[in-house]
Amino acid sequence: MILRFCLKSVFAIFTLALMPAIASAAGHESSALNSGDTAWMLTATVLVLFMTLPGLALFYGGLVRSRNVLSVLMHCFAVACLASVLWVVCLYSLAFSDGNAWIGNLDHMFLKGITVGELNGGTFPETIFIMFQMTFAIITPGLIVGAFVERMKFSAILLFTTLWLILVYAPVCHWVWSGNGWMFNNGTIDLAGGIVVHATAGISALILAKMLGPRTDFPKRIRPPHHPAMVMIGASMLWVGWFGFNAGSQVAANEAAGMTMLVTHISAAVASLTWMVVEWLKTGKPGLVGIVTGMVAGLATITPASGAVGPMGAVCIGFLAGIVCYFACGFVKNKLGIDDSLDVFAVHGVGGIMGTILVAVFGVAAFGGLSDHAIGAQLFTQAKGVGVTVVWSGVATIIIVYICKAVTGLRVTQEVEYTGLDQEEHGETSYNFE
């Protein structure tokens, strides 16, 4: 989507923001740098990095026991660094160089051939596009952390992340957002990563959690979140950062970015309140961890649709996100019995997939949407995209887990698990209050 929107933006800007005289000269001007777009893309990049560091890390860290909080922060941090380096080494090239419909080539390994002056085919420098997209490659494996907290070996996490980024993230990213990708070209709508980010991470999380096995004592003696305030801080950072994620995916400071911001926010607010009310009705008390989880669900769900729906579509999507993800959490843990510890699948997977499907409906003008597709055909396109992604992510994850099992081993010993990963894996203690 991004590249397509780029082109749109270029035109939008030349038509709207500059004067006729320029527009007429637009032919050879189409790759001129626009400082406003550049300013926004710099900012959006900062915001998306902020989502992971420290946003997601805190959101997850507050949910585990106090003896494992540092390990969770460490996972998020190390994964972010690792993904950054891999992005430079080969991921960017695999994802965004031409290649074929399924995968890019290796022409830009180590960012070979990127010059300072090059624009990204749009209105801002290629370097910023590389950075912006890198932050997506950072947060996506970061999301998966929620599935394996409190029990997975640190070395296994690093290996898993490396393989997963190469085998799952890079190809799916290429399919959807590269000009040569098959989903890009069949008109699949995924503005900011319902498929690329949330579906891939969600499915892989579920499978990894299943293969890894539950935390010892799950579900009988699992502890409540050790620090709900930390969860809320992280969630709030996710919220503000998500504007970079979604509105930044419009790759311009323009009208589309404005509407994307608006619908993103509406979905988050509605989903939060919906979750709160459901929880209130079901348990008698509206909780903080609940309302912020609703918020994340609302944001994940609107993500693919945020470039195509209007305010009322956002209200509907937020409402559905709040309800469906709420029940999905209970379903995975209690019915499936899978210890997807921090509900990555139920919130991100279910949300991302649902949003990818719903955009086919709420994106059309009849529902206040901005897209001009036919609901039926688009539903099929969206479903196909989701389906292939789910299968690919699932199969690849299974293979990767077997490799990790063989190379590093997956789990820490039970004693380490009991004493806590902070002490045992990282040699640190979380709260030394005296």
């Binding site: 699992i222 409540p224 079901k282 961890v289 609940g290 709420y326 959490c329 843990k333």
Partner: protein
């Protein structure tokens, strides 16, 4: 001398302290503890899953007093800490052989 160990509901601490002061008990040591007893823990529900919290927050007071006022002190604690609801807590009395004030080296009654 006796050590009175009282486990009470946390929000009763101030009242108990004040009541003890009134009868001349001027020193005590307090700690936050977790209690398990007849009052069953509660469940907290997060994202649709139930988490059992077995231990409840309680406050424990340790007060060393002269033989002579043990009974009175225990009475005052019981009266003040009582809410009539389960989980109000316990008072235990334990013998103490010596007491010393670190600052002065005074011992026993004088140390309190």
């Amino acid at each position: 001398m006796k050590l009175i160990k009282a486990i009470i509901k946390p929000f009763k601490l101030e009242d108990v302290k004040d009541a003890l002061s009134e009868i001349g008990v001027v020193g005590m040591t307090v700690m936050e503890v977790k209690g398990f007893g007849r009052q069953k823990g509660h469940t907290e529900i997060y994202r649709g899953s139930e988490y059992t919290v077995d231990f409840l927050p309680k406050t424990q007071l340790e007060i060393v007093v002269d033989e002579s006022i043990v009974e009175q002190a225990v009475d005052v604690i019981i009266k003040t800490a009582n809410t009539g609801k389960i989980g109000d807590g316990k008072v235990f009395v334990i013998p103490v052989e010596t007491a010393v004030r670190i600052r002065t080296g005074e011992t026993d009654s004088e140390a309190l």
